[in-house]
């Protein structure tokens, strides 16, 4: 006769904790997400099946447009400032402290160094691709091949900064990761313009580099 009474409980669950956690995660992701900086020279990279990813920091990218226009970018603002310092003494062009500050905030550039002052005077929104005719590149190792020296000085600056940082942290200063050099070439860029970049890197014994590619779907 004992009829078991099924206790009816409400099906609604307390979602407060779940909501808390999800918003915490949301906040975390929003804050850690690095805003994608718009590139001045937009290129359409060739797709590949490669699974490797480009590193986040300690990276410099040489962008080659489909007409052979070359842009250079360094990921670290400190490296940018140090590189400009070395470049200014090499090319005998002095920059003001304000210009150094502006250059440290410049994502990428594509002008000969003698026109860099004019570029830095512009607001970042005005530095269009039409105004920048590309970093001069040729097959030599002379001053006329500005990209050669930009890459070289950036590599030296990056190594120096990392070494100093390792010394401060009491780590082995010889155990540093060298800067990654990547080539981001337009899929339709002809081989001669790409070859100039490869030779520029090989001339400074940077025999290892990465091609930036898109993702190819099977």
């Amino acid at each position: 006769m004992g009829k078991a009474k099924v206790k009816r409980t409400s099906t609604s669950i307390d979602m407060t904790a779940m909501c808390d956690v999800s918003f915490l995660l949301l906040t975390f992701f929003v804050l850690t997400a690095t805003a994608r900086t718009p590139e001045t020279l937009v290129v359409d990279t060739a797709p590949s099946y490669s699974q490797a990813k480009l590193p986040d920091g300690n990276l410099s990218v040489i962008t080659v447009g489909d007409e052979g226009k070359v842009f250079y970018s360094m990921s670290d603002p400190n490296v940018r400032a140090e590189t400009l310092k070395s470049m200014s003494s090499r090319y005998n062009i002095s920059f003001t402290a304000e210009e150094y500050e502006k250059f440290a905030l410049t994502e990428d550039f594509g002008v000969p160094i003698k026109n860099l002052k004019q570029l830095l005077a512009l607001e970042s929104g005005q530095r269009t691709v039409e105004l920048q005719k590309g970093v001069p590149v040729d097959s030599t190792m002379d001053a006329s091949n500005e990209l050669f020296h930009w890459v070289k000085e950036a590599r030296i600056a990056s190594a120096r900064i990392l070494k100093d940082r390792a010394l401060v942290d009491n780590k082995d200063p010889d155990d540093i990761e060298l800067m990654t050099v990547a080539i981001k070439a337009d899929g339709d860029a002809k081989f001669p313009s790409l070859n100039l970049i490869i030779e520029t890197l090989r001339n400074q014994k940077q025999n290892k580099f990465s091609f930036v590619t898109g993702l190819k779907a099977e």
Binding site: I13, L25, S48, Y49, A52, K53, D188, K205, G214
Partner: protein, 185 residues
């Protein structure tokens, strides 16, 4: 699950409005839904944002003399891919003067370059007594970056250990491309 916290409309007898006590609970289902949707969005965009990288190693170059560092290898082992225009390749085995397999035009499809590489990869060790294949990728001036990336991709797919990009294209090879009509601007 989702229930609406409706007020059961007062106005009972006596005109006394009785507010229903529900412990101040708000339905959070929609809010949680939205939060997770945003989390998913941010998670996916941050990791997918990173571009792919393809590592390339070039042979060391003697800068001082700029000497030709190409070494002569057993011609049975070397397969040369000359990249022409219009997404076409001319390949041959051995030397250009006396090729073992005469130059033939292929494309970047599965039946083109991949089939050739796989066949040669199996064939070369048999002919040379266990030595593996060496592929020389030689882009012509009319090749585009996409072609080089595709060719490097095929090396990975075919699992070819020894390959190199050579920029020393020979005049005979250019003539070959011109003859096949794949040296167009």
């Amino acid at each position: 699950m989702a229930e609406l916290n409706q007020d059961s409309g007062g106005g009972k007898k006596g005109g006394k409005v009785r507010s229903k006590k529900n412990g101040g609970k708000v339905d959070l289902t929609a809010m949680v839904d939205l939060a997770f949707l945003l989390i998913t969005f941010f998670m996916l965009t941050t990791s997918l944002n990173k571009p792919q990288a393809m590592d390339v190693a070039m042979p060391d170059k003697n800068v001082e003399t700029d000497k030709n560092t190409d070494v002569n290898v057993d011609e049975h082992r070397s397969v040369t891919l000359v990249l022409g225009s219009d997404d076409k390749i001319v390949w041959y085995n051995g030397s250009i003067a006396s090729p073992i397999y005469p130059p033939a035009v292929i494309d970047y499809s599965k039946d083109g370059i991949r089939a050739v590489l796989q066949r040669m990869k199996a064939e070369v060790p048999k002919k040379t007594g266990g030595k593996d294949i060496i592929v020389v990728i030689r882009p012509s001036e009319q090749a585009v970056t996409r072609n080089i990336i595709d060719a490097l991709d095929e090396m990975k797919i075919a699992d070819i250990k020894r390959y190199m990009i050579s920029n020393r294209i020979m005049p005979e090879e250019v003539a070959l491309l011109e003859k096949e009509g794949i040296y167009n601007d």
